[in-house]
């Protein structure tokens, strides 16, 4: 606490010097301060912390040291980026004035504003886009390592421990990337313009939510080099408590990420509730906005539970408490419950904004109104509401409460009803439309296909007797890739192409978008169909080698995975080349009717010179019938 309390004094002192503190902080000071403080704390802890008693469990002292160093990194980094200036100015009673706020918004700073604690939602949106791409790149490389290793039965050229670490790392960072992939870039950049606001409700919290993610990344990288996350992304205890030091990186990563999600959730929800343009009643609010709000509002109560579960995991490691340690009265079922109370809403946190984004695009590319706006809202609300009541379907066979299996089967299968509503909205909008053949439009068809498969396989899994066979097999892995990647990522990639002109001022290269679309979709279906097969034949998840009968299916999956990789590389090339030298985009290239297309390229600092007034919903396409 002392380091934190010293800050305001320091900042007050510096304000007097030639350049105010607020203007001198950027990513460099953040990295330096973060690195220095973690090294200092690490060395101090090495010297000062007493050795473990003989009775202690493994690693307690080392875990303490590593966790302390990671906390020091976090505090140092956030201080160095300038996250604490606002709160301490509030404490001192010297609120930021107009000029300082404009500086924070990134006024007249050119490219430098992307490396600062910049509050402008458009800067934050671009920052999110870049970090999402980077995380996907790393996660994708890891996926390719996994598939390469599994391409041949006994060909495990990766050591089992390294393999487990790769699987865990791939899992958790892909989960994080998919959570932020729509609400991060598009929820931040597009959403405020879409509702006719000048910025988010809490611009500083917006910057905070982004920089927290940046702060969370190094711990998860460090974890890979200190033993790795060898537990899969779910990090079940007590396996996690006996894992190597790398687990601490996971714990720090999750805790920081959970704070980021919470901050973003409160911020986005407030923005939508309080800052919609005049006349934008709930009936006239675009469906994408509903998707984003449902997603972040769902994360709001869900992620603190995850946060807590990891805090307790850290305490078990560093202080030998017994939350999950059976010998001391703990319970692994406790961890599973906490984890899945977060874990199931989390998949809808990923899915809903993607589907909503495609719903937003559907009328634009079919030139007809959205079919049944009300059903879309009911679907989103129904999924969100039910998703907090289904967590124990991940624990049917854990034996924690066999009597509860039937009720959880009920709630889980009920989710198919609101999900069906979303299908009807999409298919109804395609029906009798005038299809503008673009990559976003085809993504709707791709989503229908993939999500249908993901949904139907989900029904088998929700059924307790069938799950007793399928649980923990590759079938589950294929199922959730169909929902999160086949549906979720497809929607996110379509959003990228759709909103690229507004975010970068340039059109996304059409040919590249098509090539990558087909490569990714075909590769995806090949890969995960193969995985369904080996799952049904009895291959468990997260295995580094397998029996010979699974050879063929795994080879198919690996071939599919390489095709996906090719498509993704084409897409990455498309992003870079279009961003640098694409065709300049007109203000409204798709002739869409939502507000973000009424502002110029590049979008001016506060979006609207004068705020708009809304008189109808944004789906007034089609010729009126006589």
């Amino acid at each position: 606490m002392t380091t934190v309390m010293d800050r305001p004094a320091a900042s007050a002192g510096h304000t007097a010097s030639r350049k105010p503190l607020i203007e001198r902080l950027n990513i460099v000071t953040a990295l330096v301060l973060g690195a220095v403080s973690s090294v200092v704390v690490w060395q101090l802890a090495l010297k000062l912390l007493p050795q473990d008693a003989d009775t202690a469990f493994f690693f307690n002292r080392e875990d303490k040291i590593m966790l302390l160093a990671l906390i020091a990194w976090f505090v140092g980094f956030m201080t160095g980026i300038g996250a604490l200036i606002g709160p301490f100015r509030w404490l001192m009673g010297k609120d930021l004035n107009h000029d300082e706020n404009m500086f924070l918004a990134g006024k007249e700073q050119g490219v430098k504003r992307y490396f600062r604690y910049t509050t402008d939602h458009k800067v934050v949106g671009i920052q999110y886009l870049v970090i999402t791409i980077i995380i996907f790149l790393v996660g994708g490389i890891l996926a390719m390592l996994i598939r390469t290793n599994l391409g041949h039965a006994q060909g495990g050229w990766i050591e089992p421990q390294t393999y487990n670490a790769i699987v865990g790392w791939h899992g958790i960072i892909m989960i994080v990337a998919t959570i932020i992939m729509v609400t991060g870039p598009f929820g931040n950049f597009i959403m405020p313009i879409m509702i006719g606001a000048r910025d988010m409700a809490f611009p500083r919290l917006n910057a905070l939510s982004f920089w927290l993610i940046v702060a969370a990344v190094p711990p998860v990288f460090i974890s890979f080099f200190t033993g790795g996350i060898t537990t899969g992304w779910s990090a079940y205890n007590p396996l996690a408590s006996q894992s190597a030091l790398g687990m601490n990186g996971y714990i720090a990563f999750i805790c920081i990420f959970a704070i980021s999600t919470m901050v973003a959730g409160a911020n986005i929800t407030t923005t939508v509730v309080k800052m919609r343009a005049k006349g934008m009643t709930w009936n006239r609010t675009p469906i994408f906005i509903y998707g984003v709000v449902a997603s972040v509002a769902l994360a709001l109560p869900a992620f603190p539970v995850f946060f807590l579960s990891q805090i307790m995991s850290g305490l078990d490691r560093a202080f030998a408490t017994s939350f999950y340690n059976v010998a001391g009265g703990g319970s692994g079922w406790l961890y599973e419950n906490l984890f899945w109370i977060m874990g199931h809403p989390e998949v809808y946190v990923i899915l809903i904004p993607s589907v909503a984004a495609l719903m937003e695009m559907a009328p634009v590319f079919t030139r007809r109104p959205l079919f049944s706006f009300n059903l879309a809202i009911m679907g989103i609300a129904g999924i969100s509401g039910l998703s907090v009541l289904v967590w124990a379907h991940h624990m049917y066979i854990s034996g924690w409460a066999p009597l509860l299996n039937a009720p959880f089967m009920l709630t889980t299968e009920l989710i198919s009803i609101p999900t069906g509503m979303l299908f009807l909205v999409l298919i109804g909008t395609l029906w009798r439309g005038r299809l503008w053949m673009t990559m976003p439009l085809m993504s709707i068809f791709a989503l229908l296909w993939n999500f249908m498969i993901g949904g139907i396989t989900g029904i088998y899994l929700s059924d307790v007797p069938a799950d007793a066979f399928l649980h923990g097999s590759m079938y589950v892995t294929a199922h959730f890739h169909y929902t999160l990647m086949g549906a979720g990522l497809t929607g996110a990639l379509a959003s990228l192409v759709y909103w690229f002109p507004k975010m970068t001022g340039r059109m996304f290269d059409k040919t590249l978008s098509w090539v990558s679309f087909w490569l990714v979709q075909i590769g995806f279906n090949v890969a995960f169909m193969g995985m369904f097969m080996v799952g049904l034949a009895g291959q468990p998840r997260r295995v580094e080698s397998y029996a010979e009968i699974f050879n063929k299916g795994n080879l198919v999956t690996t071939i599919g995975a390489y095709t996906i990789m090719a498509g993704m590389l084409v897409l990455l090339h498309g992003v870079i080349s279009s961003w640098r030298s694409g065709v300049k985009a007109p203000m409204n290239p798709w002739q869409a009717k939502t507000l973000e297309w009424t502002v110029a390229n590049p979008v001016p600092l506060e979006n609207f010179e004068t705020l708009p007034v809304i008189t109808s919903d944004p789906y007034g396409y089609g010729k009126a019938q006589s």
């Binding site: 606490m1 009775t55 709160p87 509030w90 404490l91 001192m92 009673g93 609120d95 107009h98 706020n101 000048r198 409700a201 901050v263 959730g265 409160a266 929800t269 407030t270 509730v273 309080k274 800052m275 343009a277 005049k278 709001l300 109560p301 869900a302 992620f303 603190p304 539970v305 807590l308 579960s309 805090i311 307790m312 305490l315 202080f319 030998a320 408490t321 017994s322 939350f323 059976v326 010998a327 001391g328 009265g329 703990g330 319970s331 079922w333 406790l334 419950n337 906490l338 009717k593 507000l595 009424t598 004068t610 705020l611 708009p612 007034v613 809304i614 008189t615 109808s616 944004p618 007034g620």
Partner: protein, 204 residues
Amino acid sequence: MSVETHAHSNPHHEHPDVVGSRNRLGVILILVADIAMALSVLFVYFYLRQQNVNNMWLPAATSDNPAVVALSPKGTWYVTGLAALGLLTHFYGLKGVRAKNQTQLVLGGGLAALFSIGALIYQFIQISGAPFTTTSGAYASCYFLIAGLNTLHLVLTVFIAIGNWNRSRLGIYKADHWHVDIVNVWWVWMTVSSLLGAFALSFS
């Protein structure tokens, strides 16, 4: 679909009530997250208590260690009492500023800050005086978890209460006082969360 308008032409001169209600909603949403966490802590406590795996909720005496005895919940109720006093004095200050009485605001805020510091110190004494360690079974772990969460809340409360008092003292709340209202929301939650912890610890 849109028409231009002249209203709200400068976003930096929004009406304080607009800004206030926006901030209040934001704080309440963040509290939703905090409430979810506090309720999960209760879940942890009662789940482990009910499971009593290996009879290690409160371990019996062994040859090496004496039996672990649950703490009297009195201490946690005292902390809750101090938080409640903080809430009351803050509310007194809030009533003052509503009646344009700056002295009452500063007095109430100052007292609330003192109570928050008092509660924090008392909480520290509580934790350091616990007759068991983190390794003494599930009850002890849960005790430290609940006390730790309350400590974290109190640290935030001290920060907020001192800031509130300082800003009152500087006369910032003469024009509008939505900050004070929001701090009151926080105080209510501080008291309630403390109460939840004390409630749980009353069942050993």
